[in-house]
């Protein structure tokens, strides 16, 4: 702690010397707006873990405030305004739907920093955006899926047909296809973010039709619970959190949303005065996407292959979307050796070649 402070003040001194405007703060009030209850065990739970990490890191120097289950639109705007009025120095808005509210309120409070998750609008200088490259984790899952499936049928449960989800489906499929050309992907759209019973039904439908590896982009552990009922015939992945309670069952690995490092970094930057507006999109390399422990259910060589992909992605030597890739309709998307520009990924509304079915539009 002492050393960090020392370093921080040194950095601050340097910056002041170099004429930078930034100034550190003695105490930061960091506030978080959540879209669901902390008890959702998924998306919001992980953001709250991040907030707790900030508290742990800085102790008395930060004060944490949060509000659960904030609906989008007018309610979000009110909560944000209230937080800004109430003296929050930095406000993290943790759902895409808060984008316009965040920018509207930020324009009124230039001295408060706003951090919006998964959006793209930064209308004022005090708005930053951050996101995680979950598709990198999907590629790792895809390798395991392609290698582990016996029926060559793999499944994916999507929430809503938005780019974030489509991106994950494509990444998962491409990685699986690469290691197993015979693989077929079935996608089920639940049309909900959260409905454990329906998610279980969706998993059951996939299992009943011969799918034996299931990934999901809805939040609950219902999918793994359903897979657990098959006594080992079907495997799945932890989503958002590690879901370690299914380690001795169907869960072979997981994608963990790990917001702690980012939150610590940003609040730290505010404390030491190095804070600047940015658009962060970190992945495995930045520690925002963690790949949970790969269990012994996965053969050693497959595990090694998946871990290698993880490490290569982290090192930047492999990009999950590397050409040649065609779109579902057969038109060219990426040329040989080209990697996907971020813009294409963020707005992705097409399947890659080989996936059957339509994206509901």
């Amino acid at each position: 702690m002492k050393r960090r402070n020392l370093l921080a003040s040194a950095a601050m001194g340097l910056m002041l010397a170099s004429g930078a405007f930034a100034q550190g703060m003695d105490k930061v009030k960091a506030c978080f707006v959540y879209v669901g209850p902390i008890g959702d065990g998924g998306w919001t739970f992980q953001h709250h873990q991040g907030a707790m990490a900030v508290q742990e890191e800085f102790g008395d120097k930060v004060e944490i405030q949060y509000q659960e289950s904030v609906p989008e639109g007018a309610d979000a705007e009110r909560v944000l305004t209230q937080m800004a009025l109430g003296g929050c120095n930095i406000i993290f808005t943790t759902s895409f739907g808060y984008m316009d509210a965040t920018n509207a309120v930020a324009a009124k409070f230039p001295d408060v920093k706003f951090e919006h998750a998964t959006g793209f609008k930064r209308d004022s200088a005090n708005v930053s955006t951050y996101n995680a490259r979950f598709y990198e984790g999907r590629a790792v899952e895809g390798v395991i899926a392609g290698r582990m499936t016996k029926s060559n049928k793999i499944g994916y449960i999507g929430s809503f047909p938005i780019p974030e989800v489509v991106m994950g489906i494509n990444s998962y499929y491409l990685a699986a296809k690469k290691v197993n050309p015979d693989v077929q992907l079935s996608v089920v759209w639940a049309f909900t973010w959260f409905d454990p019973a329906k998610e279980a039904d969706a998993a059951k439908a996939l299992i009943d039709q011969g799918v034996d590896v299931i990934a999901s982009h809805t939040d609950s552990t219902a999918v793994l619970a359903e897979a657990a009922k098959t006594d080992g015939k079907v495997i799945g992945f932890g989503q958002a959190s590690d879901m370690a309670e299914y380690k001795d069952g169907p869960r072979v690995t997981s994608i963990i949303d790990n917001w702690g490092p980012y939150y610590v970094k940003r609040v730290g930057a505010l404390l030491d005065g190095s804070y600047a507006q940015q658009d962060a999109w970190e992945g495995i390399a930045g520690g925002e996407v963690l790949i949970g422990e790969i269990t012994d259910k996965v053969p050693a060589e497959v595990k090694a292959e998946a871990e290698k992909l993880r490490d290569d992605i982290a090192a930047g030597t492999v990009h999950p979307f590397t050409g040649p890739i065609k779109k579902q309709d057969g038109s060219d998307w990426l040329a040989e050796g080209a990697t996907a520009p971020d813009g294409d990924l963020l707005g992705m509304n097409f399947y890659v070649e080989g996936i059957t079915g339509d994206i509901p539009q």
Partner: protein, 310 residues
């Protein structure tokens, strides 16, 4: 036996299990409404039951005790409703909605610390030898005990309401509380018992979600199943066997639409996703069109409070 990759046997077996929460809750609500009480708090009682059942099952290690615990929790919550509507004569619709709000809040507070725990498993009741029989095996013998219990309850309630003295009293109270009172029945006491029974059934339905369908506890786990149960009671014209048909129809189409998505039917997903609701409406229209002009079977005193002035 496959139709476009969908096996009807597995489909039927699946829908029987997936309809259980709605079926149990709707059966309970049927009794409540037949006694003339409209309790819109089914969702609240279900989620309290889901939590109560989960906690008891985890603490005792027994899923059966869990279901009893869920029923007790649901019944306990319903007593608030009973107190307000039967003693303080509060408006039933508003009280029911408030009960849902209250139940959701209480369950979320009480459930802290129960995330990420696996409850003891509620397994198949009958031996594999029976469950593995072709066609009839999965449909008739492959279920956990609660599935059989839900069907048994349908039959029992049908019999009780139709052929027993208790059923007669409940119906009398629901059709005309004035007349029932004149005959010497304690209207509010009978209704209170019906409400508690409805709460217990809803609580058990909720416990099935947290112990069998999705064996886990998370906030808001019932995700609106209570509302569907309310709709199913209306769909069924307050008759137990029709409640079973309604719950299976709704559950069946939900399962079918997901299966059609997996099988790649070519039907746009958004239409599939609306299908359970639209088809339920359509079937009700067809059924009620045949009885045009007649009453739709609603108990005559539904939703009205009773106060014995003498």
């Amino acid at each position: 036996m496959d139709f476009g990759g969908i096996n009807p046997v597995i489909l039927i077996a699946t829908l029987m299990a997936s309809a259980v929460p709605i079926l149990l809750a709707a059966l309970g609500e049927t009794v409540v409404e037949r006694s003339g009480v409209l309790n819109l708090g089914v969702e609240g009682m279900m989620i309290i039951g889901a939590l109560g059942g989960f906690v008891v099952a985890v603490q005792t290690g027994s899923p059966v005790l869990g279901f009893i615990g869920g029923a007790a929790a649901g019944a306990a919550l319903s007593l608030i409703f009973a107190l307000l509507t039967q003693v303080f004569l509060a408006n039933q619709v508003a009280t029911g909605l408030a009960l849902t709000l209250f139940g959701l809040g209480v369950s979320s507070l009480g459930g802290q610390g129960y995330n990420g725990i696996k409850p003891p498993r509620t397994g198949q009741l009958l031996p594999d030898a029976l469950a593995d029989l072709p066609v009839i095996g999965p449909i008739l013998f492959g279920h956990d005990w609660v599935v059989y219990f839900s069907i048994l309850m349908t039959a029992v309630l049908w019999w009780v309401l139709k052929a027993t003295r208790i059923g007669l009293i409940i119906r009398a109270v629901g059709e005309s509380h004035e007349a029932a009172h004149a005959l010497g029945y304690k209207v509010n006491r009978i209704r209170l018992m019906c409400i508690a029974f409805g709460g217990a059934m809803a609580g058990m339905g909720g416990a099935y979600v947290s112990l069998a369908r999705v064996p886990q506890w998370v906030d808001g786990i019932t995700a609106g199943a209570g509302w569907i149960a309310l709709a199913i009671v209306v769909f069924a014209s307050w008759k137990p066997w029709r409640v079973l048909i309604g719950a299976y129809l709704f559950g069946g189409i939900t399962v079918l639409q997901l299966n059609l998505q997996v099988a790649g039917s070519g039907i746009p997903v958004e239409y599939l996703s609306m299908a359970p609701y639209l088809i339920t409406i359509l079937v009700l229209v067809i059924m009620s069109a045949g009885r045009k002009g007649k009453a739709n079977g609603a108990p005559a005193s539904l939703g009205q409070n009773f106060h014995a002035s003498r």
